[in-house]
Amino acid sequence: MRAVVIGVLLLFVLLGLPALLSTYWIKILTATTIFAVVALGLNLLYGRVGLVSLGQIGLLVVGSWIAARLFFLTNLPFPVVLLLAGLFTGAVGTLIGLPALRLSGLHLALITLMFAGMISIVVPTVNFPNGGSGFLGHTESSLGSLAVRRPSIAHDDDAFFRYAVIVAVVMFLVALAHVSSKIGRAWAVIRQSEPAALAAGVNITLYKLYAFALASFMTGVAGGLLAADQGKLYSYQFKTIDSVTLLAVVLIGGIFSVWGAVVAGVLQKLLPALLNDWFDFFRENPDFLFVLFGIGVLQVLVTAPEGIVTQFPKDMRNLGRLILKPFRRRSGPAEGSP
């Protein structure tokens, strides 16, 4: 039943949405899809293994830089470049995570935050490849600059949206496969108690590192999609604060279900666009959204650790029960009495 619902929804997203919406909203939805994949990496890391990274946007920058460089350097097919971008970013992530993973989770959060800060300083100087020469592949001249190519089957925005959704679906399937395998069980025991995991013979550092590499891989793939979606990338598109808001939306979305990542993508990209469209206030003060995210984080940490994706259906069920209560009592008084 559940699979049918998901299948129908997916068909609607793939076929219905591009037909219904304008190019502007399709581009917003493409960004939402890409960020859902980034959020998925963080969702796995925190929800399954209990690790927090505050540098996912830094890794996204690395991923899109590598992908853009490969697109200009080679003529490899699009999916191969995506895969390579993912693998290279995974390697970078492993290098960063390796020392921190031997320490506590707090240290990983800090080292990734430092990494994000460093990337935000390096990127404006290095810039993104746009068809220039040399290792960096960047040219200042606007005439010589080229856009990153898109896959041959997905040149226009609608087709690229479908392409991104399919890549995202593959990533979600990869995540689900991991969660229900031996690896997922090892992650679960590490999250519960590291001494227990150690006693049970689980190689803690290896499995943590694998989780971090997998999350970085997904972020790298998302970076490749982003490079192709935008065509030309600029350093000002990536802010350090985005890494922090990403963590916020992942927490608010819910970390104990991979679907929380979809909610996170929607909160990060679609919600600001909708608020922009609906309210003058948010058009003038786009960053005011941070206040809502901040309150959301505190609320999730203190009262609702499961996030929207689990909490919302629960709340709706309770609300339904509350609304139906008077009717039920009238129809059968014996039922409600203790």
Binding site: M114, M118, V297
Partner: protein
């Protein structure tokens, strides 16, 4: 490789020492709070930034006396941190340090959102009266302002003062006990929440003071000041979030490194400037520190509630 003329470095040493003093000051604020409550306050920079902006508004747009608006900045730091600690400290007290740190990320976001609303990005500057009083130090051959002297001296004095406070007063002893074991401390009859609240307040006052000094020394910009927490974090991490004296020294080293990188990175040729990279110094130092700390393997036995 490097410019060898020592004269070139002199002004940067002064800037570096002043910056280092403030980094040390913030580092001490972070370490004290972490030791007493287990919370790594990532909102430290944002709190100071908002205090400085409030103070700026009072000076520029009201007839409020200047000296009082500086006090408002410090008081704001204390008040916000105290309020956060009293409201969100107890419910998160038994969670692991990571969750506690993320709570302060929430606070950072709230403060950043409010700052972008009340003070939309434009160029502002804070000018403390102490920056007017300059001295030319003859034997060193450099200009120095009282703000720079205050920053360094204040950093050193706060470190020593806090150290003595933790060592010799009753409240300080209670804080050190809390750092060891919250449960046992409370069984011994220490009013845990009140002691924690005091730690929040003290750390917040330091955040306000650091924000005020940095807004003059660096720039009055919400995002910039928020990220200066990195430099203090680097200092606190070098001290393993434990030793106050190491935090002080590390803060000064981080400040000096950041400032001295300016002439070094400018040197190859001023036209091809690498000096933008100097802001990466705190990050690099922090990452190297973490690498160094990772020599030993640690299995965390944190009491998480997931």
């Amino acid at each position: 490789m490097f410019p060898t003329d020592f004269e070139l470095y002199k002004p940067y040493i002064v800037t570096g020492l002043a910056l280092g003093g403030v980094y040390a000051l913030s580092g001490v604020g972070i370490v004290v709070l972490y030791r007493a409550t287990g919370v790594l306050n990532l909102a430290f920079g944002a709190i100071g930034a908002m205090g400085a902006l409030i103070s700026w508004t009072l000076i520029e747009h009201t007839s409020f006396p200047d000296w009082a608006s500086y006090l408002v900045c410090i008081a704001f730091g204390g008040l916000v941190t105290f309020a956060y600690g009293v409201i969100f400290g107890p419910p998160l007290a038994r969670r692991d340090p990571l969750v506690k740190a993320m709570g302060t990320v929430g606070l950072t976001l709230i403060l950043l959102g409010l700052m972008s609303y009340f003070w939309p990005p434009k160029s502002r500057s804070m000018f403390l009266p102490t920056s007017d009083w300059r001295y030319y130090i003859g034997f060193a051959g450099v200009d120095i302002t009282w703000t720079q002297i205050t920053s360094l001296v204040f950093g050193v004095f706060v470190t020593l003062g806090v150290g003595a406070f933790l060592r010799y007063t009753k409240l300080g002893t209670a804080m050190r006990a809390l750092a060891d074991d919250r449960e046992i401390t409370s069984t011994l009859g220490v009013p845990v929440r009140r002691v924690e609240a005091a730690a929040w307040l003290g750390s917040g006052l330091i955040a306000g003071a650091a924000g005020l000094l940095l807004s003059d020394l660096v720039s009055l910009d919400a995002v910039n000041l928020t990220y200066l927490v990195f430099a203090s974090l680097a200092a606190a991490l070098i001290a393993r979030l434990q030793s106050l004296v190491v935090t002080l020294l590390a803060g000064i080293v981080v400040g000096l490194c950041t400032a001295l990188l300016t002439p070094i990175l400018l040197w190859p040729s001023p036209s091809y400037s690498l000096s933008g990279y100097r802001y990466a110094a705190p990050f690099v130092i922090a990452i190297i520190t973490l690498l160094f700390l990772a020599r030993r393997r640690v299995v965390s036995v944190s009491r998480t509630e997931h």
